[in-house]
Subunit: 330 residues, 2 copies
Amino acid sequence: MIKRTKGVTISQVADAAGVARSSVSRAFTRPDMLSPETVTRIMKAAEALGYVPNHTARALSTGRHGNVGLIVPDIANPFFPPLIQAAQLEADRSDFCIFLGNTEENPKQEDKLVGRFAGQVEGLVLASSRLSDERIRAHAGQLPLVLINRDIDGIPRVLIDSGSGVREAVEHLAKLGHRRIVYVSGPSNSWSNKQRRTAIKAAASRLDIVVETVPAVLASYNSGRNAVSAILATGATAAVAFDDLTAQGVLAGFSEKRVSVPGDFSLIGCDDVLGAVTYPALTSVSNRSTEAGRVAVSLLLDMLQSRAIRDVRYVLETHLVVRNTTTAAR
Amino acid sequence: MIKRTKGVTISQVADAAGVARSSVSRAFTRPDMLSPETVTRIMKAAEALGYVPNHTARALSTGRHGNVGLIVPDIANPFFPPLIQAAQLEADRSDFCIFLGNTEENPKQEDKLVGRFAGQVEGLVLASSRLSDERIRAHAGQLPLVLINRDIDGIPRVLIDSGSGVREAVEHLAKLGHRRIVYVSGPSNSWSNKQRRTAIKAAASRLDIVVETVPAVLASYNSGRNAVSAILATGATAAVAFDDLTAQGVLAGFSEKRVSVPGDFSLIGCDDVLGAVTYPALTSVSNRSTEAGRVAVSLLLDMLQSRAIRDVRYVLETHLVVRNTTTAAR
DNA sequence: GACTTCCATGCAACCGGTTGCATGTCAAGT
DNA sequence: ACTTGACATGCAACCGGTTGCATGGAAGTC
């Protein structure tokens, strides 16, 4: 049976070391204010008693808890783990802890989480928030906020510009001789989907290529797979999918229908989350989610330090990663 | 420019409502102690001022912060996100928040995180901890702890038994008439790899099946792919791979060599992290990480409520999920 | 009408730190 | 010898809530 030791307080250390509580506090926070001997005496006493400063009490009196929150819509979406990881790493460098929230793509849940976090974090990063602009603005009035992939004036934000990569994708297909392509779209309410579709249309019309949009609705493997018939019906020779998962579904659908990729059809994904684990290895647009996580936290910590809100708009360009699902049009 | 509103305190609400601070506190925590009219008056005042109880202050006086910590070795490993998600969901049901820590597989980092979390969470879940038994015991002395996939006497733990599922996999192959199979092994220092290999050998020898082991070293897509020649060289008709990623690599390797799955060869993965996103859909051993996350948190919350540590050892059996990569031996 | 009982509310201590200001000591300056 | 200043330390208020106990008034009992 394991016994739990109750907390040692600053007063006990003070008694043991024969000093005032304030001196113990200073020994830990501003040792330069005390004589070296006093500091070592206090430290020795603290060590002996197993004293650990109480984070909560400290947070109450200083107003700084050393935590920041990070809220994502779906942790199981492979786009986010690298982002979370990078955010955590960056926070760690400044001795901050990350509070993670998962909203299950549900704005209500997101609102609730923001509220619950508000009391215990100094600032918040909202990644791909599903909240309305108004709600986000309201929250930003309560505590320092940084957005990832939401573009709202006046609130610091990190944007992954998939447009640049998508443009490269279309140019790549054009160079390979494709004249008629399909965009397998994602959720219609998604900011990224809008961004990508717009970029494709712009690039295509500039290069004199015909684009048709086939909806995949749920941005998942299955909807990609189900979209295959519609894709083939357009008579296109290449497609760009909203994301890698959709592309992988399309790949499976083609395989079932004995359509060879890239032999009969060229396919490009987005987000590059599957790395090279599909067969054939998927040509895709890089996502830079790692940088996004790192930069967002770094921005937030800056805000906390300077107590100022700058209207930062940090754009990360993406690029095409060519692998084996694209080849010259027949 | 967005302005930040400073916090409204309980005293301001008390003044506005013409009551004592304690009454405001009670209005929020134990409204049954107050007359209904007083409660509504206080609530109205609170609403008008935009009062939100200060979580930190409350935690300081009650000793309960309503947070639990969850530490995982690698959030980017697809095994963990579902676990995290389930843990969060379960915590949410009891109005608890989850603190997430990522250790990058590094025991030092894990120790550091535990220490940092200790002050702000009521309890901790360690998933696949990389710490030594002694360190874990030491931490368990400081705060309520639940382990996932670590088997230490006296500390509540949730164990995923992949052996049971692997046994089913071998039985499944036997029933399909396979007499000679391959185990595509994972990292030799992995607890799971050992567990799985042992289970396969035991089941196979019981069923009079020949097993050969082909190493995939890094448990990754590429090493699975590279193992294909060796697999074919054994003359086996079926294989069980250490994990799904390896299996997917093997699948790709087969595809390159024009070996049809399941037509020419049957393949089974482990962990079921890819769901049905391969083509053909991968037969795999379930991992139950979702249940593990849920159960661990639920156990922890129980401990917090009852203030007692029971020596729970919760074993989750795994099962074979049959999809389309296995069929009768030719 | 006096006495008990009960309920709603207030008072004040407490949770465990931090911090502005006061105090005391000692050495240097004149 | 007296002032001055620097420095180390203590005192006490404060952060924003919670909670045991005291109090006072209304209702109930004989």
